[in-house]
Point group: C2
């Protein structure tokens, strides 16, 4: 509880709403809605489990959606900031924080009964349970410096771990589904609740920010304690040996940002690497079981490690023992995107999301090793890529990113 | 139970599998798998409810997926038939029937432990519940006559109700996501179970048929007895006044095909009209609540009919009383398809699926009336369209479409 911050927040929001629809468009929300306190959602997220009500606390030392269990559905959005002042960026983060806190608590973001004005909350989640909704925000490198332009005066605060990824062998990245100034990761156990959250965050952001790319996913592949482990679209169990929510030591060592590599404002945050990976499903389906198992390093049905594991298997090459003991927190989701005109097969894959303390020591060397030798890479093509610095959590009255631009 | 048919089916399948992988590609399944009897799934589908095990019977007087309750997730596929003989078509329907019956019963379509050969079942649904999976097949007009070519000798059997739709005011149809020789509607309460079914049907079809367009959906908008009714992505409740599964009189009058309009082979089948409708979400979000409610004819929060309902509202114009008493069975699903580059908003909409006795008397006049006057049409664009004759159900030992091409 930081009364000073709260007063600041309220005056900031009142200022934003006073600017009115002309300044922040259809997304404008009235002061009365913003000044209400989500209240009951204030609780530590440390426990890593959602309560019996299906509410994952929005406020806490860390943002929800990283250490908290991964629900079944994802909406991921990357945004470009259109506004060009630090005040615009602050206003956007104030609006987003307020909306995310309300929706995480199962509330509407604002009134629906608005007479001649557009409803503030768009309404499609009315009557649905909170569904373990989490909303996680991140800052892309272009927010700090875009082709050498210090757009918001933030260049001096750019964390060193928020480094551009090198080109990896086999990358076929499409700029239109890569990068972005900001990201929003929405997870929920109901796809309509997840969509509603993304929809209303997009609406509220207009015209300060606009989505660059969006992707819906399902069937989390990792970050779960459920048994049996979920299977990916290649039919193999996924998520083996992931970092588990209760392993606070591993989180401290591998996931949460800290000094000296990260600046103070990132302490308790984490770096998200997002890779959109397409699976050559027609090629995989035509591969013999033996070949599939040798590629992964495990039996398909049982998930057991093979008696003899080929050195080029994904199991071996992705193992921490081959990567200086480094681990990453995986939180991937499968996606299906119509027919691939090149193959006549479904265009499917995984939005591989991983959180870590420093991608320069974790994702980058791991992926460099995999891209060069992993038998699985014959079947996978990385078509989208982005890295975001996800700041730490906040308490009620603060806004996400306040440690950076407060 | 028709022993003769079953013997026929088995010899047909054994013949198909004897042709081997060279003829039906990666989809080839061994005789041993095909000859097993899904058995326990044999039951009438008339009850319209799934059992406690989450199994919706595949066999019955009608195909599952029409009168049965709509689960939460959809995979819809339209296919072009590549094979050019009636024997190819029969083989495809044999393979699909066998696979669909097994998957509906919660079984794998064939072995996974196949040694050096590709697994028959691709495996991603292993360990998941049957999830009320239904698979519904339909025949497009081009299967009977394609630009005047009678490809399979079926032209004389084409049902009159399987008529091409006229152009409606405002249509912006894209050929690449319209039409198709065959359709497969997969519904389930787990998106991974639904995807797996579509995936394996595509794999098994190769190279006899190949998908033309695919679409994933969620959050059924209609055909449910659940209260409160689900909301569509415009935030309004949808499915009001739909035909309910237990209303067998309405099904007989409005849904199930019958003579004299339909040929004998379609008796107990139904005609599916599929329309991919995009929602101008950014325009809708910027519309005042009053305007939204006047457009629909109902209150947004409560779903109650407005005290004064505008004559151009969707409620009035879609009402049976304005359409010669005609009704259709709706089974639509919402879709989300990334960012619409034209608006920067999510490209969302509904795959509107409706079943009926005769589209010439039902969908066509209803849509003609709506396209010309419905206030809602300002926000909707029809971008895909298709019509399919879904044949009646079959009993174990028969294959879907056997009444037509047996």
């Amino acid at each position: 509880m930081q009364p000073t911050r709260r007063v600041f927040l309220r005056s900031g929001l009142a200022g934003a709403s006073a600017i009115g629809a002309g300044a922040i468009g259809a997304g404008a929300i009235g002061a009365s809605a913003l000044l209400a306190d989500p209240g009951s959602a204030v609780a530590a997220v440390e426990s890593g489990e959602s309560g019996p009500t299906g509410i994952v606390p929005f406020y806490g030392a860390h943002q929800a959606g990283i250490a908290t269990p991964a629900p079944n559905y994802l909406q991921f959005g990357s945004f470009n900031v259109i506004g060009d002042t630090i005040a615009d960026l602050r206003r956007l983060l104030l609006i987003w924080t307020d909306a995310a806190a309300r929706m995480s608590a199962g509330q509407q973001i604002g009134p629906v009964r608005t007479g001649s004005k557009p409803p503030v909350d768009t309404g499609e989640a009315i009557g649905l349970a909170p569904s373990d909704l989490t909303v996680t925000f991140g800052f892309g490198a272009t927010l700090f410096s875009d082709n050498g332009v210090d757009r918001f005066g933030l260049a001096k605060h750019k964390p060193a771990p928020l480094a551009d990824l090198p080109a990896f062998l086999g990358d076929a990245l499409q700029p239109v589904i890569s990068g972005g100034d900001l990201c929003v990761q929405v997870c929920a156990n109901d796809p309509q609740v997840a969509f509603h959250a993304m929809h209303d965050l997009i609406k509220q952001a207009s015209p300060l920010a606009t989505p660059k790319w969006l992707l819906a996913g399902f069937g989390r592949t990792g970050n779960t304690t459920k048994e049996p482990l979920p299977r990916n679209l290649m039919g193999f169990q996924d998520g083996t040996a992931n970092i588990m929510a209760q392993d606070t030591g591993a989180f401290k060592q591998f996931v949460w940002a800290g000094e000296p590599a990260s600046p103070a404002w990132m302490r308790g945050g984490s770096y998200l690497v997002a890779r959109r990976i397409q699976i050559a499903l027609e090629l995989w389906d035509a591969t013999g079981l033996d070949g599939q198992q040798q590629t992964i390093g495990r039996e398909k049905l049982s998930g057991a490690v093979l008696p003899v594991v080929p050195p080029t298997s994904h199991l071996v090459l992705s193992s921490p023992s081959r990567n200086n003991g480094q681990r990453i927190l995986r939180r991937g989701y499968s996606f299906v995107d119509g027919v691939d005109p090149a193959t006549g097969f479904p265009a499917v894959g995984v939005l591989f999301l991983c959180y870590q303390k420093d991608p320069r020591k974790q994702f980058i060397p791991i992926q460099r090793r995999l891209a060069g030798a992993d038998a699985l890479s014959e079947y996978l093509t990385h078509i989208g890529s982005a890295v975001f610095a996800c700041p730490p959590g906040v308490t009620s009255g603060q806004f996400i990113g306040e440690q950076l631009i407060g």
